[in-house]
Symmetry: C2
Subunit: 252 residues, 2 copies
DNA sequence: AGCGTTTGAATGACATGACAATATGTCGAC
DNA sequence: GTCGACATATTGTCATGTCATTCAAACGCT
């Protein structure tokens, strides 16, 4: 049974070999779109790499790299000696290095933010440790409530070291923290994050509109920039009935 | 300032070019070990790819691939025109496609399991939907308590379709579910997982040894094999004070 | 009909070579 | 002294070629 997918040529009709976008990336994007829109159906087998390369007029490593991108995303499965196959079941976007603001925005909700606290304080011991700075150094302490279409979904607490302590409160009303940081030229690269849960404490229940002592989903995150310096330490808590982390895990 | 790391030759002393282990993988492993043990200190710059390749007697693509592995893991940061740098801050193991059993085992705790329920039932609507099978088809329903050094940490509820409905209760006492599946030749590849939180309900609080109505961390997971078939649907809940998901996020 | 072997097809790994894009540092003109 | 142009270093992209490894199906033998 040679159930190979011969996809419509339109899938790869508008490749731009001179533009700045890498070829492998163009191929990967178009393939992904074709898969997600079921132009290439789930479970079907792809052509082999060599003939794809020939048909698209490019080398095998380029095709391989494009396919590899989608394998890493969990959209395709490769088996040596067999071929490459589209996985069954839709793939969810992985937990990405974006702020909640971006998340909500991209899912066509309208995020709004209310700043509860915006102050420069000397860093307590635990904060200083996370930020890899000396205890007592000035840091910007933020506490905000994030709403989606008017409903509170999260309480965001952030600590930022110099040189970001001068971020204005106004900036954070219309844009997410990460957008502000990016606009200041900060290239965010890696972050260590921990997800857990606990009881709502203090005023959290009231702010989120849940019952006192009810459960909240928590994340703790240390964000690094290009040069490996700590950019931000954030402790967030979410309404678990409105928010959950979806991710696609891929075995290596 | 040319702060290049000239690492000890021992780091790459025992490369085996004839063995079955790929060269790039050997290089990546040794590099990772050297970084994690601070033989190559955090923040230091690596040699450029070409001279590494020359010094190790291999081609640049091979070295590139090795470095790429660690970039994907968040251990290294590359900047065009600049070089490759070790990131500050330790990297935590990402949320992997392993069972809790493997997790606990690898962190040198002693996991034990008590099976509360081991029955074959006709699949209810929601379960059938998740498993992509017809409603009413026989599935294996498992409910287990996982302990670490005697302390209960999680309640694991799993649903398995044919041909895995015959998994014996005994097998699950000494090994994790995924180990059992692997032993049966199942190649697990991708999974969709969602993490959230809720109140403990029913007997969960008692089983976990927490207060009634207290918060639990929950995961919901659909696991696919090589061929894209659903292997398992799992709903787990964890004691949030004893368990959290740590992961390193890497921006693309 | 059943079982072991062979063969073909596909991905995996690695080498070599070339050019492009980008950041940094240097040098010179103003 | 400051700013811009240029040279240099380094990673990014892409092509071509070769051999190894693995799986499945066809084949042949019993």
């Amino acid at each position: 049974m040679s159930s190979e997918t011969i996809w419509p040529d339109e899938v790869f009709s508008d490749l731009d070999r001179n533009g700045p976008v890498p070829l492998y990336y163009q191929v990967a994007s178009r393939l992904e779109r074709a898969i997600r829109s079921s132009v290439i159906p789930a479970g079907s087998r792809l052509e082999n790499e060599i003939s794809i390369a020939q048909r698209l007029g490019m080398s095998r490593p380029t095709v391989r790299r494009a396919i590899q991108e989608l394998v890493d995303k969990g959209l395709l499965v490769r088996r040596r000696g067999i071929g490459t196959q589209v996985v069954q079941g839709q793939v969810s976007r992985p937990v990405e290095l974006t702020s909640l603001y971006d998340d909500l925005q991209s899912t066509s909700h309208e995020p709004t933010t209310r700043t509860l606290l915006h102050a420069i304080i000397p860093a307590p011991e635990e904060i200083a440790e996370q930020l890899r700075i000396a205890e007592g150094t000035d840091v910007l302490h933020l506490r905000r409530v994030r709403r989606s279409d008017g409903t509170p979904v999260a309480i965001l607490e952030n600590y930022l070291p110099a040189p970001f302590t001068d971020i204005a409160e106004d900036d954070l009303d219309t844009r997410g923290l990460y957008q502000v940081l990016r606009a200041r030229g900060v290239a965010i690269r890696v972050a260590n994050q921990a997800i857990s849960a606990r009881r709502a404490k203090g005023d959290e229940a009231d702010l989120l509109g849940i019952s006192r002592g009810g459960p909240v989903l928590t994340t703790e995150r240390v964000v690094f920039n290009d040069a490996g310096e700590v950019v931000e330490y954030g402790i967030h808590c979410y309404r678990p009935d409105l928010y959950r982390f979806e991710t696609t895990l891929v075995a290596k």
